[in-house]
Structure formats: C-alpha cells, structure tokens
C-alpha cells in the first residue's frame, strides 16, 4: 500500500516537474543585449559604441521598455515604432538596398564555386608530380687537401 502511494507520488512529481520548469520566468532582457543590435539613429553607429546625447536617450528608452517587462523582440519593435526601421541598421529592402543582401551571398557562392573547381585540379596536379623530377639541392664542393689541412690546424688551435 505504502509502495503504491510512493509510486503515485513520484509519478505526480514527474508530471509536475516540466510544468514548474516552464513556469520559471524567462531570462530578463538587458540593455547590452539590445544595444548591440540597434543603431544610434543620428550617429550612424551601433548603439553600444555610440557616445552622444541621442544615444543616451535611446538607451533610456530601451531601459524604460525593459522595466515594463518587455522581451528583446518587443523592445526592438518599440524602437522601430519610435525611431523607424533605420534603428535596426538593416537594409530596408527597396532599391539599391537589395545589394547589401545579394553581394555578400554572391561573393560566398563564387568563392565556394572557385574552391569546388580548383581543389580537384590542385590535388590532381600534386599527385601527378614526378618525385624524380625534383631538382636535388646543390652538393657542397669537396675540400682540397690544402684546405682540409688548414681546417684541421684551425680546429686543433681552437681545442687548445
């Protein structure tokens, strides 16, 4: 009987555990977490490196939104509502701005294509190289009898 009660209690705890885990509060948004992803709209730099009165106002705005318990996404949405989409520092999608997305992707694709094309050629070339064709390092010239004698004498003098 006691054993059954214990099993029932453990089963109930096992069921409750995930629920309590979900009920735990989400990690609180912080100013550094937001300010490295948004722009100072006047300075034209990321907010986390901006040093101006406008940057301070934006930081104060973010802190006020965080104090209201908003998530990072909600804070960023509120920033867009006040300062416009340029506060996110991402291309707005119209006209020339498409190039900011297309050009880096095209460069990466071109580099990958180049590697796919060139790497097999390099490997083929290195495997077909004839080891015998390699040029040997030039041998040092042989010492004449007179030089050998002088070298022996010098070494003997140093040993003394």
């Amino acid at each position: 009987m006691a054993r059954r009660a214990l099993i029932a209690l453990l089963a109930a705890l096992a069921l409750l555990a995930p629920a309590t885990a979900f009920a735990a509060p989400a990690p609180r948004t912080t100013l550094p977490d937001v300010e490295d992803e948004v722009m100072c709209v006047l300075c034209g730099t990321a907010l986390n490196v901006a040093d101006s009165s406008q940057a301070d106002r934006e930081r104060a705005f973010i802190e006020a939104e965080i104090a209201k318990g908003k998530t990072k996404a909600q804070v960023k949405q509120a920033l867009v509502g006040e300062y416009g989409p340029q506060v996110l520092g991402t291309p707005e999608g119209g006209g020339f701005d498409w190039a900011a997305w297309v050009v880096p992707s095209a460069v990466v694709l071109a580099l990958l294509g180049g590697l796919i094309f060139l790497v097999p050629r390099w490997r083929r070339r290195s495997s077909t190289m004839d080891p015998a064709a390699a040029t040997p390092a030039p041998a040092s010239p042989a010492l004449s009898a007179a030089d050998a004698r002088r070298l022996e004498e010098d070494l003997a003098r140093y040993d003394r």
């Binding site: 709209v41 006047l42 009165s53 406008q54 106002r57 934006e58 705005f61 867009v80 509502g81 006040e82 300062y83 416009g84 989409p85 340029q86 006209g95 020339f96 190039a99 050009v103 071109a110």
Partner: protein
C-alpha cells in the same frame, strides 16, 4: 583558353562590384529636385504622406489643409537650431491661423515622448506629425534639421529653407503665398 578564363571572370566581377558601388553612391546622393525647381521660379507639387499625429489619434496629411497655406517644418527635440527657430514659427502660426493656414511640424528620428517634451517646453501650439519611416523627409530631400517648406493653397512648394528660418525668410515666404 581555360587558363585565361579565371582572370577574365575575376576582372568582370571586380568591374561589376565597382559599378555597383558607383551606382549606390549616385543613387544615394542628395535629392535637390524641389530646390532646383523653386530656384527656377517654379512651384513643384509638394510631396505628401498620411502620418500619425504627435500626441493625438489618427493620421493627417498636407491634403487635410488643401486650399490653405502651410509651412511644413521638419524638426526634432535633439536639434539645437530647431529650438532657436521655434518662437519664429510660433509667430508665423499666428499669422497663418488668421488666414486659415497652419505651421505643420514633422518630427524626424525622434521618440514621441522627447518630441512632446519639446512641444511643452517651447510652447508650440501648431500640430506636428510623426514621420517614423522617414519617407516624407526622403521625398523632400531632407538630410539635416531643421528644414522648412512653404506650401501654397494649391499644394505647391513656394519656398524652401534648409537650415533654421529667419524672420526675413518667413515674411517673404508668407507674402509669396498671400498671407
């Protein structure tokens, strides 16, 4: 032939990137369409967008004032010259109101609580709209604040001041639109 293709492709790619850069710089250049027309004595149509009212509900646009002269003034609370010209614009508002017109402020890259603090601090009585997306400012070629556009009753730009307005500019511009 194949050996020659790689440098050729690289040169073409580099040329395409340089071309793109030149196009980007040219297309993001200063928009002086309105200035050029006004300096030739023309009155180009004033660009218009429906924008939310600062500190109020709903949206308003220049079309709401059709038939009346309007001084459109781009400003922001962080803009020092905007503080200096606020009393002049307030004075112009009194003259315009007598003719049914108005000064219409447009805030640019400014949070509404900061804008509303400015309105209270400088006793601004004319309405302001919030250009959050910056599309209206872009249509007027606005790059620095303050900028002012005097618009006649037919919705055409009669005068432009890029920088703070002076009393002389406002007097001349208001005379030009019959105020």
């Amino acid at each position: 032939m194949k050996r020659n293709a790689v440098p050729l492709v690289a040169i073409l790619a580099a040329a395409a990137l340089i071309g793109l850069l030149v196009y980007g710089v040219a297309s993001h250049g200063e928009n002086r369409t309105l200035d050029d027309a006004v300096s030739k004595g023309q009155r180009p149509a004033a660009p218009d967008r429906a924008l939310p009212v600062l500190g109020g509900d709903g949206q308003r646009s220049l079309a709401s004032y059709r038939g009346k002269p309007v001084i459109l003034n781009f400003w922001a609370s962080w803009c020092t010259p905007c503080r200096l010209e606020a009393p002049l614009l307030e004075h112009a508002q009194k003259r315009l109101q007598a003719k049914g017109g108005t000064v219409l402020g447009v805030t640019y890259r400014d949070a509404s609580p900061d804008s509303q603090d400015f309105v209270r601090k400088f006793n601004v009585t004319y309405p302001s709209l919030r250009d959050v997306s910056g599309q209206l400012a872009k249509a007027y070629g606005t790059r620095a604040l303050p900028e002012t556009f005097v618009i006649d009753g037919q919705g055409h730009v009669a005068a432009i001041q890029r920088g703070a307005v002076s009393k002389q500019f406002l007097d001349q511009a208001l005379n030009a639109v019959g105020v």
